[in-house]
Amino acid sequence: MAEFTAIGRAGEVPDGEMKVFEIDGYAVAVANVGGTLYAFQDECTHQTCSLGEGDVEGNAVVCLCHNAEFDIRSGEPLSGPATMPVPVYEVREENGELQVAI
């Protein structure tokens, strides 16, 4: 069971936005969709672009380089050129911190 690690401050990712955090050189994107937080690998499984610099559309995160779409909850590819899922992680806000379990 992965332990939660603090990567930022609680409230750091406002509703409707995404932000990229680094943990030991590994980039994790956190999205806030209507108050619910989602965390996933920032690097797209298609051509390594940043998902955190993409767009959120409903339950999908869209990589803007080549329009690969992933389910933001499961990481499964939904549409576009990617065929491999992106890893997703548990994320929470606790003790004033933004924490992910990697």
């Binding site: 767009d55 869209v62 803007l64 080549h66 329009n67 576009g80 050129p81 065929t83």
Partner: protein, 404 residues
Amino acid sequence: MRRAVIVGANACGASAASVLRDEGFDGDIVLIGEEPYPPYERPPLSKEYLRGEQTLDRSYMRPLDWYAEQNIDARFGTRATDIDTGSKLLTLDGGEEIAYDSLLIATGIRNRPLDVPGADLPGVLGLRTAADADRIRELAATATRVTVVGMGFIGAEVAASLREMGVEVTVVEFFETALFRVLGAELGGVIEEIHREHGVDMRFGEGVEAFVGDDRVRSVVTSSGASIECDFAVVGVGTVPNSELAQAAGLACDDGILVDASLRTTAPDVLAGGDVANHDHPRFGRVRVEHFDNAVKMGATAARNMLGAEEVFDDVHWFWSDQYDANLQMAGFAPTFDEVVIRGSLGDRAGFSVFYLKGGAVAQVFGLNRPRDVRRAMPLIKVGVHADPIALADEATDLRTLGA
């Protein structure tokens, strides 16, 4: 339906097979393709795969094991030779006959050959398949200079990759600038400039008169009489749809296989999709496009329609190109337009986007390093939103708010 047969083990065919299973179809699926590989993405062939940065299996549409896991009868390295639409039988090159209840034809396109002397010399290459890319990469490893004929997307991407591989590149292009037929003179000029900055020698307004050589091509002679020495040449001057199989079966064809809005051909229970399909698009009219994303999406719609849906294919035709650090994207279709709105500046390498309006509605968008603008304009194009040009040009406008 008990058996779905797909001719074309490519982006469209793999997508169709996949969606058939996703939709719960548990009958037979036969997937037939000429190439020895499972379906793979072609976009990397002129880019990452060509440069040796990624292997072919990384580009597989589905892992090799997937076809057996999904109980798909995959026949790679097999050619379909005949369709009998009356008795609903497909014949393969070995003589085997396969009955179908529903057939999808996704036979794609091939490169248009240049009809000039010497075009058959060794070292005059095209790029369509992984094997073609392997050949170019192999020769590029020891080449000093290469001539690229044609500066459409294939030519432009190959030129960019060869420069990144350290090869000198001369381009011979019939039109006045790069990507002229898709982007026009002004935007094409921006791409031309990017290539010039990367050291590509470009000769515009020139055709090829002949390829000259002995045991291989040594030079390219242009219409102005120039002789350009080269170690090999790559030709990308357009394509021909592979519609012969359909035509011989009596299906209506005209620059590809004619399909209605729902991808149906003129034969019962025969659909067509991908590059070979000349589609009656509900918003753009009749059009045949050669984009990866379109092929995948047509495959999905075709699969659902093979299962009895009546889905109209109304995708807005999105595609991308990567050249050096430039990401080009375009969506929509506006062969003619009334107004062009530029967001940013055409001289700005960091990026700009261009909106094409027809009758006040957003009909097409182009972005240089502005993928977000392209993505967010796509819903506007889909429904033909009438957008205020001033709002479109304003960087502060969130394009998502214009559709409401």
